[in-house]
Symmetry: C2
Subunit: 141 residues, 2 copies
C-alpha cells in the first residue's frame, strides 16, 4: 500500500499540487481502508492522523483527487456517495457487497458487446462504466 501511496503522492507533486496535512490524511484514509468510503467516513478516519481535518477539506480533496483520476465514485442502485482509490487511466471497481472491500482493475474487453450494440442501434459508443459486485474471499466463508 505504501508503494501505492507514494505513487499517487509523486503524481500529485508532478501535477504541482501541494501536499498538505489534510490532503495526506484523506489519501491515507482511502488507501488504508481498502474499501469505498463516504465523505463522512473519510473525515472520521482522516481525523486520526489530522485532528483538525474539516469536512469541507475532505470534499475539496476528494474533488481534487477525482479530477486528477486518483479517486473514483462508487455507484450503487440507490446511493452514489462513496469514493475509492483508482489507478491512473481507465479503470473499474470490483466490490465486496458484504464488507465493502474495493479493488480496482483495468482489463475490460467489451469489444464484442460494444460492436454488437453499435451495429444494432447506430450509436457510436465512446466510453463505458462497469462495476462488478460479489463476495470477497474472506466474506465467502
Amino acid at each position: 500500500m505504501s508503494d501505492n501511496e507514494h505513487a499517487i503522492e509523486r503524481a500529485l507533486r508532478r501535477s504541482g499540487v501541494r501536499l498538505t496535512r489534510a490532503r495526506r490524511a484523506v489519501l491515507d484514509a482511502l488507501l488504508e481502508a481498502e474499501r469505498h468510503l463516504t465523505a463522512a467516513q473519510v473525515h472520521a478516519l482522516g481525523r486520526q492522523s489530522c485532528p483538525s481535518l474539516s469536512l469541507a477539506s475532505v470534499y475539496r480533496t476528494l474533488a481534487l483527487l477525482q479530477s486528477l483520476g486518483h479517486v473514483q465514485l462508487v455507484h450503487s442502485d440507490d446511493d452514489c456517495q462513496s469514493y475509492a482509490v483508482a489507478p491512473a487511466g481507465h479503470s473499474h471497481q470490483l466490490i465486496c457487497s458484504a464488507c465493502g472491500w474495493t479493488y480496482a482493475f483495468s482489463e475490460c474487453d467489451l469489444s464484442p458487446l460494444v460492436a454488437d450494440m453499435e451495429a444494432r442501434t447506430g450509436f457510436r459508443i465512446v466510453e463505458h462504466l462497469l462495476e462488478l459486485r460479489g463476495l470477497c474471499p474472506k466474506c465467502r466463508e
Copy 2:
C-alpha cells in the same frame, strides 16, 4: 411507446399499486422523454399532464418505480441524479452523451471477464453495473 406504457401500468396493477394521476404523470414523463431525467425535470414535464403534481410525489413515485424495477438510476462520474425507464429484470443503459437519449438493453455477456476476475481475485461475482455512453445516430451528424 404506448405499448411500453401499458405494459408497465399493467405490471403496476398486478402489483396492487394504485394508478393515480400523479403516478401516471411521472411514468408518462419518463416514457415520452426517452431520455434520462432528474426529479426536477420529471416534475416540470409531469405538470403538463397533472398541474398539481408535487415534487414530493415525484420522489415517492420514482422510488416506487425503482423498487419495482421499472425505473433505474443513471450514473455518471459526478452526478447520479437521473432516472430512466428500465425493462423488467436485469438491464443496462445505452446513453447519448449529447442529447441524453437513453436506451435500455438486457444482453450483456460478461462471462469471460467475470470468470477471469473470479479466478484472479477469489471473488464470487454476483452482479454487475454496466452503462455504455456515446453518440446516438442523430447526434453523430
